[in-house]
Assembly symmetry: C2
Homo-oligomer: 334 residues x 2
């Protein structure tokens, strides 16, 4: 139907005006008569003309691409997080005329990100996870590529979009303490993830209040596999621990399995809670008390913030999104 490769030049010729005029009609920049503008626009509409974004990009030194860097080595439990992030990001990106270029990086290999920036194929980037000593982050900082991170970072210069993990974990822990629990344990994962520190701090915060004074707490950090969890659970049971709080849902899954194998009833014999709420635990029986974050919103907000930066606006260094504590069947209600 429509001419496959209509250009600004074709239209100019057809309408007997200059390419400049066509360009202005499209972009809306520069003075142009209302009549000519309408004429151009309706011609464009009718002939289904679409400007060549690549050419425009070349002229404007822009690509209209956003780089999203995804860890290539994440585990199954984290997957839904990245999926939802991506959904949020790609929605606002495409609504604003941008596309998403993917780079998968691992701790050792950040070459995909480097390609994309040295080839100047992106205008900015979004990091969907940050480690304590994050290579992609350093790289982008050094190359002066505008970027935001989803999560938190120590560096003052980086723009961060995160949920308020610390408050969330404090609030959940407080609720548990208020329900009368006096012997509680926290099992945490990799301390090189910034979020781990925040969650831990939130947990500790809860004991600063009155409720916590009398509570006995144990903390296990850098627990990464099923085997370790088995050992810890064993120990905690022997110890008469009333509630096991897990920093993430992978650990929580391990704990639940360990309890199940030992025929320990949840929440009757021991209560369980998680500092995250992935769909992976959704169908668990009993349902587990945890904290819910709107991850898609996180992605959206990150993308909006990046776009604002690209347009030269000032943005907050740190925006904290909300959360929701969900008491479920794995803990006893007060």
């Amino acid at each position: 139907m429509e001419d496959k490769n209509l250009t600004i030049g074709d239209i100019a010729e057809e309408l007997g005006v200059s390419k400049t005029t066509i360009s202005r009609a499209i972009s809306g920049k520069g003075r142009i008569g209302e009549k000519t503008r309408k004429r151009v626009l309706s011609y464009i509409e009718e002939h289904n003309y679409r400007p060549n974004v690549i050419a425009r990009g070349l002229a404007q030194h822009k690509t209209f691409n956003l780089g999203v860097v995804l860890p290539g080595d994440y585990n199954v439990v984290e997957l839904p997080f990245f999926q939802k992030c991506m959904l949020g990001i790609s929605r606002v990106a495409s609504a604003r005329g941008y596309d998403v270029l993917l780079s998968m990086v691992t701790a050792e290999n950040t070459s995909q990100l480097k390609r994309v920036v040295t080839n100047r194929k992106i205008d900015g980037a979004i990091l969907t996870r940050t480690l304590a000593n994050d290579k992609p982050m350093k790289y982008l900082l050094q190359k002066e590529v505008p970027f935001v991170v989803i999560g938190s970072a120590a560096d003052e210069r980086v723009i961060q979009i995160d949920n308020d993990h610390r408050s969330a974990c404090r609030e959940l822990t407080e609720k548990l303490l208020l329900s009368g629990i006096r012997k509680i344990a926290l099992i945490g994962s990799d301390e090189s993830h910034i979020v781990t520190g925040n969650r831990r701090r939130g947990f500790e915060d809860a004991f600063a209040g009155n409720g916590g004074r009398k509570a006995d707490r144990k903390v296990f950090m850098n627990v990464v596999d099923d085997v370790q969890v088995q050992g810890i659970v064993e120990q905690l049971l022997a110890d008469g621990t009333e509630c096991i709080v897990c920093m993430d849902d992978f650990l929580c899954g391990c704990v639940l399995n360990a309890l199940q194998m030992r025929q320990i009833a949840v929440p009757e014999q021991v209560q369980v809670a998680s500092f995250y709420d992935s769909t992976i635990l959704e169908y668990r029986n009993p349902s587990v008390t945890s904290i819910r974050f709107d991850v898609e919103e996180l992605g959206q907000k990150a993308c909006e913030t990046l776009l604002a930066m690209l347009e030269g606006e000032e943005v907050e260094r740190r925006t904290l999104l909300d959360y929701e504590v969900r008491m479920r069947d794995s803990t006893k209600q007060a």
Copy 2:
């Protein structure tokens, strides 16, 4: 350190040759003296020059971007599949100088894909899932965008990369029959997914041989949620079914839960197998008999095939990759 925006023109001037020469030295196309070539190349090396891919693309009518379309509405269980696909794809893409542009589409909304193609931002596309009446597929076909699908499609014109699900399912089913099972059931999911049909056919194939003659089989299709599974399991248990085969791991998870709730021992009282092998079942106890596919290889192969097409090579309409049947603890060995 290096000049941020070195161009081909700068180098030409610096070296006292023409831009043409620089271009030829880089691309390797066209006759050029060995000496000048070396001279140019070493200058480039030394000054860390990187050609502007966008500009090159404009001149060559290429983008060096591949569009990968991901369903925006997949469920948790399928996630690892897409993750591994992406890994395979993005590895070969970046090794060959291409980047990956992501489009998330749903059954109703394919606008992200459309943007990317009408904006001419990709040279070709990879579909990571196909439905029976696939919109993105039709669209790409109509727009004459080169593409490959991961999975199968009825249309003769589409290039497909898939595992040999049919053989795999036949082989697994045969093994089960050979172990002496005589009352077997298949629980299947959405028939609008092409792969579902292939798996079912493989299952049926197994009964064509001698082993199957005497076996009693039941098939349940279009089972999509936990509740349905509960009912079916109930019925199958009453019926004395010896083995329940699930078409995918979501269903398998549901079946295992249903059995667990009823305190039915696997494999002692009823055996269970799955036609897929996601990491989601990895930590299940007992481990479940299933079929393993190398999904990352699938992604790689798809990307290689697409790149071959873009270079004008002839490619196979259908390439089937291998599989591996894994007998585990959820079935009794013969």
